[in-house]
Structures are given as C-alpha cells and as structure tokens.
C-alpha cells in the first residue's frame, strides 16, 4: 500500500512539474506548483524527514507561492 502511494506521488510530481511548465496561464502554473510541493512534502514524510517536510510546507508551499501570486497580480497573468 505504501509502495503504491509512493509511486503515485512520484507520478503526480512529474505530471505537475511538466504541466506547470507547459500551461500558458501563469496563475494555474503557480497553483500547480503548490500541488508539486504538496506531493514533495508527502514524499518527505515517507522518507522520514519531518523537519524538511515542515520547512517545505511553510517556505515553498506558503511563502514562495504567496510571493508568486503577488508578482502575478502586479504583472500579467498570461505567458
């Protein structure tokens, strides 16, 4: 069960990263990026790294996404 979940997360990781690069809408791209870091966080928990997982949630998932959204709202939303 854990194995399957692990591989599923890897697939989500790949899919979300490729989608974030491919999509034209920057806001969607940034939101996909949160999915990306979300699955990374789960993987870190699987890999027994709660410290890194916490830091990833608050820094990549929280602050960086916030900064991205601020930037997009101040610039244009489309590529």
């Amino acid at each position: 069960m854990e194995q399957i979940l692990y591989y599923l997360l890897l697939i989500i990781l790949l899919g979300s990263s490729i989608f974030a690069i491919a999509t034209k809408n920057l806001l969607i791209s940034v939101i996909t990026l949160t999915v990306f870091s979300g699955s990374l966080v789960m993987l870190y928990v699987f890999l027994q790294a709660p410290d890194v997982a916490l830091a990833e949630i608050v820094i990549s998932g929280g602050i960086t996404t916030g900064l991205f959204i601020v930037t997009i709202s101040k610039t244009e939303g489309l590529e």
Binding site: L14, L26, S29, D51
Partner: protein, 111 residues
C-alpha cells in the same frame, strides 16, 4: 529505488528546459523553483535508509535515516527561497520599467 533517481533526473531536465527555452520571466523563475526542489528531493532521498526512522533519538530505535543531508537540505531550502524572492522582486521592477515579461522584448527595447 533507481526509479526515484530517474524521477529526480527528469525533474532536473524539466527545470533546465524551462530555464533555457522559456521567454517569460516568471516561467523561468518557476523553472528554477522546480530545479531547486528536485535537488532538495535528491538530498532527502539520499538520506533515506530502508527501515530507518526519523532522527529523533528518544525511543529504542536502532536504525535512523542520515540526518546530515536533511540538515543541509534545510539550509539549501532557505537559500533557494531567498534567491527566488529576489528574482520575483526583480521581475516586478522589470515589469514596471518595460511593461512586459517577455525577455526578448525587454532586450529589444534596450536596443
């Protein structure tokens, strides 16, 4: 376990491709973000030992995962976030000056 390394390599590839080929400043920043995340994932994954537990030594566990790459990964996350923030600040300023996010147009406007 080779599979995870493959995934990390593909993620690095995606990030590098975005940095090299995209013309939109924000897309480049997103590419850098993916690249850095992939490297941090590499740090965490390389610290894993099958059967190991969290390196908090309180119970009677015997095998722990390697705490050093995790500590280094934390440092790397913070440094990466700082550079990303600086980049986004630059993107905002560049947009104010040139009214576009396209890197070729910015270059054209400067002549």
């Amino acid at each position: 376990m080779e599979l995870t390394y493959l995934v990390i390599a593909i993620l690095i590839c995606v990030g590098l491709y975005a940095i090299a080929s995209k013309r939109n400043l924000l897309k480049i920043v997103i590419g850098i973000n993916i690249l850095e995340s992939a490297v941090i994932f590499l740090f965490v994954f390389s610290s894993y030992r099958p059967g190991g537990t969290v390196p908090i030594i309180s119970g009677n566990h015997e095998l722990f995962v390697d705490p050093v790459p995790q500590a280094l990964a934390l440092t790397a996350i913070v440094i990466g976030a700082s550079t990303t923030a600086l980049m986004l600040g630059l993107v905002i300023e560049l947009y104010k000056r040139y009214d576009t996010l396209n890197i070729t147009e910015i270059r054209k406007m400067r002549g």
